[in-house]
């Protein structure tokens, strides 16, 4: 890209970057040679984006696979989550230097030019190693199917949850006989619960953490409650994705619901959500990846899917999925080994569930070991009530859709714009996105044919 005149700082940074890149290059060469020299017959290169607790769990699963399959050398590389990862994956696939196996967010697959940058899975090979469509929630499986072919094999779903402090709710008499939070099925009930909790909670803390300033969380929550209302995005009859079916009235309802948390004083905008929860705030809405954090803090807490305040249960879900980045001559032993590795990890996701994610391979969910996991066993039902973004090229985790609409939701929740006018703006933006072309292949959502 055209770069404005450099200053000293940038030049130094550039030189430093070049040096680091150089040394990394050599480092990669070194490990590559090691992997080849280990005596294995086949090598599977596997790129993922898991760091922290997820990273440790993934490496443990890979080590288990390595121990059982000495003939397959797994060379795993952990890259930085988000845009750097997708950039590298796209460039590698386009330049035919792609690894055998990769990980992507399922919502991003439709925009990643399946067929050109991604290769389809061989379902017969997957079945040979024990993974079939029947083992999956059909809706989830079909999200990975584009033009009739499977491009993404889900490892998990990760969902937005309502975390609650049992010690606080007990005082407010908000726990049922099973020790879990009482069921809430309307907005009135929900605010009643908040009101009761506020009376008994520690002073100076907020009652609920809502990530009111965060465009990603606000967007995920919006998707969840808009889906609870039965809201649609685009038409799915043929020709699909030609018409915006976004319901501004339903959207307004959701936005007003969010806003009321702020106007009624249940939220301190900008207060750190997780920290306040650990310190005693009764509720927080977070992704299930906060489970290890709260469990690590030894809290007496529970977690349910976001409350079905509009009647129908639904909570936002994204999914880490295995993909096959495009290789010009994919096939043979390495490709089979990639299938084998993915199938193995999908089936041995017990450890993965410890990170809070819900394993996509449903037989895992009915094992005794999984049923013993708390609070995982309390929200595993979210598998059957997934609220997802529309299956279009501009969707997906931190993708264009979230980037454009997320700030609008925030502006309504924070009170700098009226819910009704924000809903109209969202609708307009959706129409604009629907008409725009996917930079990866120059087609619009309608032309892309990204429908199962």
């Amino acid at each position: 890209m055209g770069i404005p005149p450099l200053n000293r700082r940038q030049v130094l940074a550039g030189l430093g970057g070049a040096a680091v890149a150089g040394s990394l290059g050599f480092a990669t060469l070194g490990t590559g040679a090691d992997a080849l020299a280990s005596g294995a017959d086949v090598r599977v290169r596997y790129w993922n984006l898991f760091s922290g607790g997820d990273g440790a769990n993934m490496i443990a699963m890979l080590d288990a696979f390595r121990a059982e399959h000495p003939g397959i050398a797994v060379k795993d590389s952990t890259l930085q989550w988000g845009n750097p990862f997708y950039t590298k994956l796209a460039m590698a696939a386009a330049g035919d230097r792609a690894p055998e196996l990769g990980v992507m967010h399922l919502g991003r697959v439709a925009g990643f030019s399946p067929g050109r940058l991604l290769d389809p899975w061989d379902e017969a090979l997957l079945a040979k190693y024990g993974v079939r469509k029947a083992d999956y929630n059909p809706v989830l499986w079909n999200r990975g199917v584009i033009d009739g072919k499977l491009y993404a094999l889900p490892l998990d779903i990760h969902v937005q949850l309502c975390f609650y402090r049992k010690d606080v709710l007990k005082k407010a008499d908000l726990l049922g006989d099973d020790g879990r939070m009482i069921q809430v099925t309307s907005t009135d009930q929900w605010f009643d619960v908040l009101k009761k909790a506020r009376k008994v909670q520690k002073k100076g803390l907020q009652t609920i953490g809502l990530w009111t300033n965060d465009q990603n969380f606000q967007w995920w929550f919006f998707v969840a409650f808009y889906t609870q209302l039965g809201g649609q995005w685009f038409n799915d009859d043929t020709p699909a994705n030609t018409e915006v079916l976004f319901d501004a009235d339903k959207a307004t309802q959701v936005l007003e619901f969010f806003r009321q948390h702020v106007t009624d004083g249940y939220v301190i905008p900008g207060a750190p959500t997780g920290e306040q929860f650990i310190n005693g705030a009764p509720f927080t809405w977070e992704g299930n990846w906060s489970v290890p954090v709260f469990s690590g803090a030894k809290l007496d807490y529970g977690a349910t899917p976001l409350p079905p305040v509009f009647g129908k249960p639904a909570t936002h879900a994204e999914s880490h999925s295995f993909v096959l980045p495009h290789q010009a001559n994919r096939g043979g032993a390495t490709n089979e080994a990639a299938h084998q590795l993915a199938a193995y990890i999908v089936q041995h996701a017990q450890q993965w569930a410890a990170g809070g994610h819900i394993p996509a391979y449903t037989p895992t969910l009915s094992t005794a070991a999984y049923k013993k996991l708390t609070p995982q066993n309390e929200y595993a039902s979210a598998m059957d009530h997934q609220a997802t973004e529309p299956k279009v090229w501009f969707a997906g985790s931190t993708g264009v859709l979230a980037q454009d609409l997320g700030p609008m939701v925030v502006s309504s929740t924070m009170g700098s714009a009226k819910p009704a006018s924000v809903a109209q703006r969202m609708k307009k933006e959706l129409a604009k996105l629907l008409a725009s072309k996917n930079p990866m292949d120059g087609t619009t959502a309608a032309q892309g044919g990204a429908v199962a």
Binding site: M91, M414, S416
Partner: protein
């Protein structure tokens, strides 16, 4: 800057010398100088010239991030960019930041330099204190201020008894970045001013004192006019640096565009277009537009300065 005036003096001398032994000098010049500058030229070509040329080319295509399948689309990217409200908003944020930072930093750097210049005890300590933050990497400085300003647990609000949502409300977010930037970068301008202050001949002040000028008069009639050039330089350097606002803003906003996009600077929007939306061609076109804006500011200042100097003579 000063190079133009130096050129006019040196050029005739150079021309004469060149005429006398051009061939010999050129050969020697290549043998020695050429090799010395080769590493620089190589890097300069690889990381400045080539990306620039490539960027101009890409801006006329619909290239995506994967690098294949780009086709020529003429001026479409430019046409779209000029009609893109989000781009103008982002440019507005960069300009707003510049308008806030540049005057503040100039005045503050001058005051700090005066202080450090006139203070008698522990001179080194003052200089070190004012300059040290500039040595921090941008992410470190930004992260520190993020903690200082975080609502509920930050030292800043705690100390002043405030509850201001510095980082999470769109009416404060840019101010927070301005405060951080002032603290972090004022040291650079401070050093320029300090050096200039030390360069003012003492006899000027002595003469003024003999004529009965008080401290205020000495500052207004001697110090400030003698610092005119350095003020111009500080102003220009800060303006160019501020327009390119990026690293501290994204680091303080957790790599997002700030509350309700309020701190999304031009550079960040360009990056998003290229690497979130995968539209490298479009992002290139925006970079070129930005390049033109920056170049216009730099040229505008040069022209302004030259006119003023010529008028003064």
């Amino acid at each position: 800057m000063t190079t133009t005036s130096a050129e006019t003096v040196i050029a005739p001398v150079r021309a004469k010398a060149a005429a006398s032994g051009a061939t010999v000098r050129r050969k020697q010049g290549f043998q020695h100088g050429g090799w010395f500058i080769a590493p620089f030229l190589l890097l300069f070509g690889m990381f400045v010239i080539w990306p620039l040329v490539r960027g101009i080319y890409l801006s006329f295509t619909d290239a995506n991030i994967s690098g294949d399948g780009a086709s020529f689309i003429g001026l479409d990217n430019y046409r779209e960019a000029l009609g893109d409200q989000a781009m103008w908003d982002a440019l507005g944020h960069s300009a707003y930041f510049t308008l806030l930072v540049v005057p503040c930093i100039t005045v503050l750097a001058f005051l700090l330099a005066m202080l450090a210049h006139h203070i008698e005890r522990a001179k080194w300590l003052w200089r070190l204190c004012f300059f040290a933050p500039f040595l921090l990497p941008s992410t470190v400085a930004a992260n520190m201020w993020q903690w200082l300003l975080t609502q509920g647990i930050g030292l800043f609000n705690e100390t002043f008894g405030l509850t201001t949502p510095w980082l999470t409300d769109k009416s404060y977010a840019m101010t927070a970045i301005v405060i951080e930037t002032l603290w972090w970068t004022v040291g650079f301008s401070f050093i320029l001013y300090l050096a200039a202050l030390q360069g003012i001949p003492a006899h000027l002040y002595e003469a003024a004192k003999l004529d009965g000028a008080n401290a205020w008069q000495r500052m207004v009639h001697i110090t400030l006019p003698m610092l005119r050039h350095i003020t111009g330089l500080v102003f220009a350097l800060q303006a160019l640096a501020s327009l390119q606002l990026f690293d501290q803003a994204v680091a303080m906003m957790d790599f997002g565009p700030g509350p309700e996009l309020s701190t999304r600077a031009f550079v960040q929007y360009t990056l998003e277009q290229g690497f979130t939306s995968y539209r490298v061609g479009y992002a290139s076109a925006m970079s070129i537009i930005f390049f033109v804006i920056i170049a216009a500011v730099a040229l505008g200042r040069m022209v302004l300065l030259r006119n003023r100097e010529e008028g003064g003579r």
